[in-house]
Amino acid sequence: MDPSQVVREGLIPLLPRLRRLARALAGQADDADDLVQIVLERAMTRAAQWRPDAALDKWVFAIARNAWRDELRARGRSQRLFAGEEAGAMAADGNTGPAQKLELAAALASLPPDHREVVALVLVEGLSYGEAAELLQVPVGTVTSRLARARSTLQSYLGNDT
């Protein structure tokens, strides 16, 4: 079988996880599926670069993460500015009743991209720190410190930080 066929067939069972990862990264459902579409196109184009000894899911997750970063750059700061306003509005209100907690979820969107991607890879996709570090091409210590800071941010929005 030629590589593109192996990759294509290997990607089919990975689609649900890829969509979940894209949702965690891009947030909105149709943005996430647009991202998945771009990822699939890229994966097919680069199928020859995939080596069978590499796990296909990590390989395509790395493509997804890079495509997401490309889109963020293309989009500029508009998305984060919006999320930042939401988060700012919440932070200004010390009261964390149920209505506020509904908005607290905006915290995920307001995480900086390097925090958000470790949350997506480790906490949502279940990669180990080492796997995430390899995928992101950063040291393991960087993954753990980003993850700890991301957790702390999310917990503080939940109003249950200690």
Binding site: S4, R8, E9, L11, I12, L15, P16, R17, R19, R20, R23, A24, A26, G27, Q28, A29, D30, D31, A32, D33, D34, V36, Q37, I38, L40, E41, M44, T45, A47, E71, A74, R75, G76, S78, Q79, F82, P98, K101, L102, E103, L104, A105, A106, L108, A109, V119, L123, V124, S128, Y129, T144, L147, A148, R151, S152, Q155, L158, G159, N160, T162
Partner: protein, 250 residues
């Protein structure tokens, strides 16, 4: 006094520690209430994120995506790629959108829909209506009570939670859909030994004129899809629903 730093605690929760360190923290947890609370919080956060995003796994994959992986196609793009930046620029104008999966019609809804599912989960957790048990979310408090007691055939217009369908799932458990009248939040609950497991929580849908659909029949697509995936035979009628309640939802 806490000798275990955040990074170590986090690695413990994420299963990243060696056996010796894990054992040391296990031992410390026995007598350290604060440490135990921190572990619980970190686990709850993880469970909440999973609960918010795992339902994506059960969604049908859009045809435009699976079509890209059909065999006997050249590896070239089968559809033009639209950069996210372009579609983002158009969002809210309603013009020139792809016809697929564009259900969010209000600009505000479009901007916040992504977070709605996570928000729902956080809100339900925060409101005490959802608890976490063995990394799975279960109904608690008023939600659990409503699932135990309420009958769709005898609706109480003042009850905060309204029951939709009840049915037996393919794995033999009884499941019920529910919707919160006050918030556009809906979900599916399936009864097991630990209570009402909640495989799906979802934001309700907003209709085109911006009014919230609150009828139990207007289940969000994620809930509807979860029902379709699980249901065996038909949904219960009034008599079957009552009989199931009398039998303790077994």
């Amino acid at each position: 006094m806490n000798l275990i730093d955040n990074d170590t605690l986090q690695a413990y929760v994420d299963g990243e520690l060696d056996a010796t360190t894990t054992a040391r923290i296990d031992a410390a947890l026995v007598h350290d209430d604060l440490l135990r609370r921190r572990v619980q919080q970190a686990r709850a956060l993880r469970a909440q994120l999973k609960a918010a995003l795992d339902p994506v796994l059960d969604e049908p994959v859009p045809a435009r995506l699976s079509a890209l992986l059909q065999s006997a196609r050249p590896p070239q793009p089968s559809m033009p790629i639209k950069p996210l930046a372009q579609s983002a620029g158009r969002r809210g104008f309603g013009a020139g959108r792809r016809h697929t999966s564009r259900r969010w019609l209000l600009p505000i809804a479009a901007a916040t829909a992504s977070l709605a599912v996570l928000a729902v989960t956080l809100w339900w957790h925060a409101g005490g209506l959802v608890g976490v048990h063995d990394d799975r979310q279960y109904a608690a408090a008023a939600l659990s009570d409503a699932l135990d007691r309420a009958l769709a055939s005898e609706p109480d217009p003042h009850a905060p939670i309204s029951i939709g369908l009840s049915f037996r799932s393919a794995d033999g458990r009884i499941c019920r859909t529910f919707i919160n009248r006050a918030k556009p939040i809906a979900g599916l609950a399936c009864h097991d030994d630990a209570g009402w497991w909640l495989p799906v929580l979802s934001a309700g849908r907003e209709s085109e004129n911006g009014e919230l659909r609150q009828a139990a029949s207007a289940m969000p697509p994620a809930v509807q899809a979860a029902v379709d995936a699980r249901i065996r035979g038909e949904a219960f009628d009034a008599q079957q629903e009552r009989a199931a309640r009398d039998a303790g939802w077994r």
